[in-house]
Subunit: 333 residues, 2 copies
DNA sequence: TAGATTTTTGCATACGTATGCAATTATTTC
DNA sequence: GAAATAATTGCATACGTATGCAAAAATCTA
């Protein structure tokens, strides 16, 4: 039974006061090199480590970031999780992982985040009710919607510029010679799907190109089934824009199953540039989300807000770029 | 500026003592129905929520589980993360997510877990030095290695029975008529790869079937490149056992690229039964890890240890089952 | 109904740290 | 080297909760 070692114990051994011990571990406090050395030696000997809870209790701050995620099946998001975790670790923050099943994050999850007084919240793949947002505001906890945005102007969001991106994709497919296009949507109520649809539609209509839209759900099965349905109804277009990569892979598999050659018979463009998009079997043309910038932008905002809460709301949109692969090569019969 | 509301405030409004408020929120404490009602109403009105930090400080317990993960690229692990998060949420625990880059979890990550006094630790795809394990023991923090095990008998681990599984896979491939087999290993120092290799080798040698082993690294690229190398060296076997699914997908893609027909020219068996294994493009025969049981086993152990620490060490191994798909159908030329 | 017993309550204190303030020590200035 | 200034230290207290103990209230017993 190891007795728990506190700052007081260290202080006694080092022959200083508990305050001095505290100051050694508190960034920016003033301690002489001499005491610091004594304290660190004593701490080492006793195996002392500051108690985060006592710390948070008194500073009323934590070094915990709440990260809310829904779709761990879509490889894009584990990647986001990993990067945030690594980046925040560098500046001493840890990640409280919250998994939600709903598009809109629910009360029980919000309670967790509030009970732990997280320093900030990142919501990657879901949204938030206005009243929930108020709760965070009341507690001066900054929140970022990552890869989602909300029409209400009370939220800070960081996205790829979905509108511009999907317009570019539209231009690209038309330039490639497509004359009959299809858009396969993600979950209907997500900002990403809505904006990708809008941008794409804008351009396609501008060029008077035929477009048919299909609803789906951002999953592999969704893409696969939608494509099968399109094929069985003999509505095959000569170009697909699929709202995310994982669905696009499903589409490609359905096409392959039906001996429909890509890119010759039809072309496919996805969105996200997940790792699998570059696998030789798929070689999917897609839009690369500027993940690093998006993460950097999110962190900059959050760190500032943690230091100095303003509650400012804004939609940040960062351009990505088209990654052209084999699913859209110029068609030669 | 919303003033922070504490148990004292609630007490005043409800006309009771702070102790009574505390008792309302503390499971198993004795409070009359009357006071409970008064307190809950007052709390509702003020928007009170207990401060987890003050709580942990005094109880010296937390409701936080540390979950350490390395390979978020392998879809098996996000699934694990999701399930643990959901299950633990049901019993009031939250997940502190720790990402490690090393096979062996490093000091800085251990510090995080210890500083937060996590109630328990789950390490999913890495291991731990003996001295690090001692630290957790000293602090009476139970640790489970999930899907990894260690020869030293100081660790509690929960795995699928890799030995039995890989023996069964060996028997299966031989029964399918394979006479020249290949094993593609995962990271060399992982228990999973070692045991899968051993079990498979045991059976193959018993049947005097030819076997060649290749080293790789549990990634898609690893599987892909290894298979390409095998092909270019003209060492193509008539059956592969690949140590995990994500590598097996790489193998399948390399085979397809070289117009090698599966299962006719060669067969492929993976391990994990990740979602993608069932995708029509791959249709991979694989071993299903009994994830639900593994998670249940882990949780039962941890909850008991949290209640009543023993530090008992044991290797739990649970059988899975072979999922036969198209990559191993009986060969007919 | 009075006494015995159980349940509920409030008081006071403890958990381990950070921090304002005053006292002490070290450093600078002339 | 003395005075002025700056840096460091210790003291005491506060953070918001849980809990042992004793007092009070409620319930039971006969």
């Amino acid at each position: 039974m190891i007795p728990k070692v506190t700052a007081k114990d260290v202080a006694k051994l080092a022959g200083v006061s508990q305050s001095s011990v505290s100051r050694v571990y508190f960034e920016g406090a003033s301690v002489s090199a001499k005491t610091k050395k004594k304290v660190l030696e004593a701490a080492e000997e006793l195996g002392y480590r500051p108690n985060e809870f006592a710390r948070s209790l008194i500073t009323n701050r934590t070094k915990i970031i709440g990260l809310v995620m829904k779709g761990v099946q879509n490889p894009f998001y584990p990647q986001v999780l990993k990067q945030f975790t690594s980046e925040f670790k560098k500046i001493g923050y840890s990640i409280l992982f919250v998994h939600t099943n709903n598009d809109e994050i629910q009360k029980d999850d919000i309670d967790i985040l509030l009970n732990y007084h997280v320093a900030a919240v990142i919501i990657t793949d879901a949204t938030l009710s206005l009243s929930a947002m108020e709760e965070f505001k009341d507690n001066k906890i900054p929140v970022v919607l990552f890869n989602r945005k909300v029409v209400k102007s009370d939220f800070y969001s960081v996205c790829c510029n979905n509108l511009k991106a999907s317009e570019a994709i539209g231009e690209f497919l038309i330039a490639e010679g497509c004359t009959k296009l299809a858009y396969i949507a993600g979950n209907a109520n997500t900002s990403t799907s809505i904006e990708r649809e809008r941008g794409f539609t804008n351009i396609v209509e501008k060029h008077n190109v035929h477009l048919k839209k299909y609803s789906s759900d951002y999953t592999y099965e969704g893409g696969y089934n939608t494509a099968r349905e399109i094929i069985s109804k003999k509505q095959l277009p000569d170009g697909f824009f699929v709202a995310n990569d994982i669905m696009a892979l499903g589409v490609l598999d359905a096409l392959r199953e039906n001996q429909i050659a890509v890119p010759n018979d039809t072309k496919v463009v996805g969105f996200d540039n997940i790792e699998m998009a570059s696998w030789p079997t798929y070689n999917l043309t897609t839009w690369e989300q500027p993940m690093d910038e998006m993460i950097a932008e999110t962190m900059t905002y959050l760190i500032n807000e943690i230091e100095n809460y303003t509650g400012i709301a804004k939609n940040i949109e960062i351009d990505g770029k088209l990654i052209v692969r084999e699913t859209t090569k110029k068609g030669v019969d």
